[in-house]
């Protein structure tokens, strides 16, 4: 068991770190203050293939493994939680299901432009009455001749108004519920009947475009059914298994970034005639934070490798997300505390990291859901 990254992955980490420092970090504060989607960063990510790291080369992706992908998310999240989530929503939640469940025609038509960086993707499952209880889908899809007609709404959709291609889940047979009643569809922006509702004002990841999607007699071609009829719920759960590894990496990055920043701060900041780092209370807290971040990192990397090598990796993914998210919340909160008064000031990034960290305990499966998955597995 080798815990060291090989040279290729080390070089990838250097690439992502340089990119994050030079291209992502300078915008992080501004896009948070103004709640602005960093379109220019997306274009740069697209240019260098970083929006499709784990998508196979034959579809225009970079053809790298999941480990490379989580390292990218980690390095980017260290400087900006928003950029990390828009990336992971596009790659894992939109490209992912088309790759796994789409027909060859759908892959050519949708996956290739998404992977090549020509289009941006999103994933629409959550509804006002269907959050953790995702099975309570109320958006309906009815087949009418050669078209599906969608009616309903989705909320809290990441990349909401900015995306071009959406994976939308809808009830196709209410009587069957989760066992065959929900299907997945590919919907393009601009389709008549598909509009946007509220732009959410959030606590954190404020640059992320989080919108309500509204479907009113929205007609899409029959061929836009993704995969098999009725298998939508299964596809959603499988997709979220991968998605939660991405979020785990985002949480890991937030924790690691806050930690790095705090370590530098306590070495410089002096009170009572010496640097804060010289106070054992501070030093011990940092030791704890460091250990927890490293533990989270190992779980995240392990889950990434499991995704590539195992057929089922739900438990690994759940543990990674549970641990990383809770670590992120704990570490970023402690970081603000260790920064003292300055930690509360928006110019010093740690308060943003703390606000960004909270959502990692909630979306793509709350920590409670992760506990359900893990306990369900061990207590079988």
């Amino acid at each position: 068991m080798d815990f060291k990254l090989d040279k290729a992955h080390e070089m990838m980490r250097t690439l992502y770190r340089d990119f994050a420092q030079n291209e992502v970090k300078p915008l992080a504060q501004e896009i948070d203050e103004t709640e602005r989607f960093p379109r220019e960063t997306v274009e740069k990510l697209q240019k260098y293939g970083m929006m499709s790291i784990d998508i196979p080369k034959e579809y225009g992706g970079q053809g790298c493994d999941s480990l490379s992908y989580v390292i990218a998310l980690e390095e980017i999240a260290k400087v900006c939680g928003t950029t990390a989530v828009l990336l992971s929503a596009h790659t894992t939640l939109c490209c992912g299901p088309i790759l796994k469940f789409g027909t060859e025609e759908q892959k050519q038509k949708y996956l290739v432009p998404l992977a090549k960086g020509e289009k941006l993707g999103a994933f629409a499952l959550t509804e006002p009455n269907a959050g953790t209880d995702a099975a309570g889908q109320q958006t309906k899809a009815v087949l009418d001749g050669d078209e599906w007609v969608l009616n309903g709404s989705k909320i809290f959709i990441t990349n909401g108004k900015e995306a071009d291609i959406y994976i939308v889940f809808a009830m196709t047979d209410k009587s069957k519920g989760t066992k065959g009643g929900i299907s997945a569809f590919i919907v393009e922006k601009g389709t008549p009947g598909f509009t946007f509702g509220t732009k959410e004002k959030k606590m954190g990841i404020r640059g992320s475009s989080t919108y309500e999607l509204v479907f009113t007699d929205c007609r899409i071609p029959k061929d836009n059914l993704l995969g098999e009829l009725g298998k939508g719920f299964k596809y959603a759960m499988m997709t979220l298994d991968g998605g939660r590894i991405g979020i785990a990496a985002q949480a890991l990055g937030l924790a690691a970034g806050a930690l790095e920043s705090t370590i530098a701060y306590v070495k410089e900041r002096k009170q009572f005639g010496r640097p804060l780092a010289k106070f054992q209370n501070t030093a011990f807290q940092l030791a704890d934070m460091y250990t927890k971040v490293e533990a989270a990192r190992l779980l995240v990397y392990k889950a990434a490798i499991a995704k590539d090598t195992q057929k089922v990796y739900s438990v690994e993914a759940a543990m990674a997300k549970l641990c990383a998210a809770e670590t992120a919340m704990e570490v970023t909160t402690k970081a603000v505390q260790l920064y003292g008064g300055y930690g509360y000031i928006r110019e010093y990034d740690v308060e943003r990291m703390m606000r960004d960290a909270k959502i990692t305990e909630i979306y793509e499966g709350t920590s409670e859901v992760q506990r359900m998955v893990i306990s369900g597995s061990i207590l079988r």
């Binding site: 040279k7 290729a8 070089m11 990838m12 340089d18 260098y48 790291i53 970079q62």
Partner: protein, 260 residues
């Protein structure tokens, strides 16, 4: 077009610190990077490739771990990579180094262009590029800010302190690139994977057609007889006052020293 780019792996001297107590360099833990001027030269070559179509061959002379910069170059888009490595080449000054590298470049003839960086951030001599061109018997244009190709010629914007020349040189020729001439592209993740799957040609002593007395320490007319840390100027006074007091302090010192 065939372009040979010479690159070097260097310690990131921008991050080296001095041990304040011993006055010596802290060399451990200093990351190695692709020399910035060379990276700009590689980017210039890649832009020529994008524009005119070209095969980019990168060469580096160094220890085995220098292959990392070759991988980086491949991941950015270079086509083939060569590592010139051997104990016999070590201890070389710029003349012996340029002799060795020129012999390697010769093996790739015929080529249209050789591009090197202006200088490396560890040696800072800016000598190897022009010396290589002399060994190869071709023209060189140093301090390039811009490179264009026109048929058999390159048109180069050549920088001087207070002016620049637009210079026309016949290929094959050598150009040394200024770090500020462009913003090098990033590698791609897939490019890195491919780079590590590509075979790098390694050339050792038998592959370099140069007599023994022109290589390594023996082939170096110059030698370092002494090296020592810079003697630090004794530290002056440091104060932390409020704004008005700070301004007063400076004015007083300027008066004291008869500056004003």
């Amino acid at each position: 077009m065939k372009i040979v780019v010479c690159i070097k792996q260097v310690p990131n001297t921008n991050e080296v610190k001095l041990d304040p107590v011993k006055g010596t360099l802290i060399r451990e833990g200093v990351p190695s990077i692709l020399n910035p001027d060379d990276k700009a030269g590689l980017e210039a070559a890649l832009q020529l490739k994008d524009q005119y179509g070209a095969e980019i061959h990168v060469i580096t002379m160094g220890p085995p771990q220098a292959d990392a910069v070759l991988r980086e170059a491949l991941a950015m888009g270079a086509d083939k990579a060569y590592l010139v490595s051997g104990r016999e080449f070590g201890g070389a000054d710029t003349l012996a180094t340029s002799t060795t590298i020129a012999a390697a470049v010769k093996k790739l003839a015929p080529f249209d262009l050789v591009i090197t960086g202006r200088q490396a951030i560890d040696g800072d001599t800016a000598q190897v590029g022009p010396q290589i061109s002399e060994h190869l018997g071709i023209a060189n244009v140093s301090y390039a800010e811009e490179i264009k190709v026109e048929g058999e010629y390159v048109i180069v914007k050549r920088q001087y302190e207070d002016r620049h020349h637009i210079v026309k040189a016949k290929m094959p020729c050598l150009i040394t690139a200024l770090g500020e001439m462009n913003k090098p592209r990033y590698m791609t993740p897939g490019g890195i994977n491919d780079a590590y799957k590509t075979e790098i040609t390694v050339w050792g002593r038998p592959d370099i057609d140069v007599p023994d007395d022109e290589l390594g320490l023996t082939g170096s007319p110059t030698r370092v007889v002494q090296s020592f840390p810079k003697s630090l100027k004794p530290a002056g006074v440091k104060v932390q006052l409020d704004t008005a007091e700070s301004a007063d302090y400076i004015v007083d010192k300027l008066k004291e020293k008869f500056v004003i």
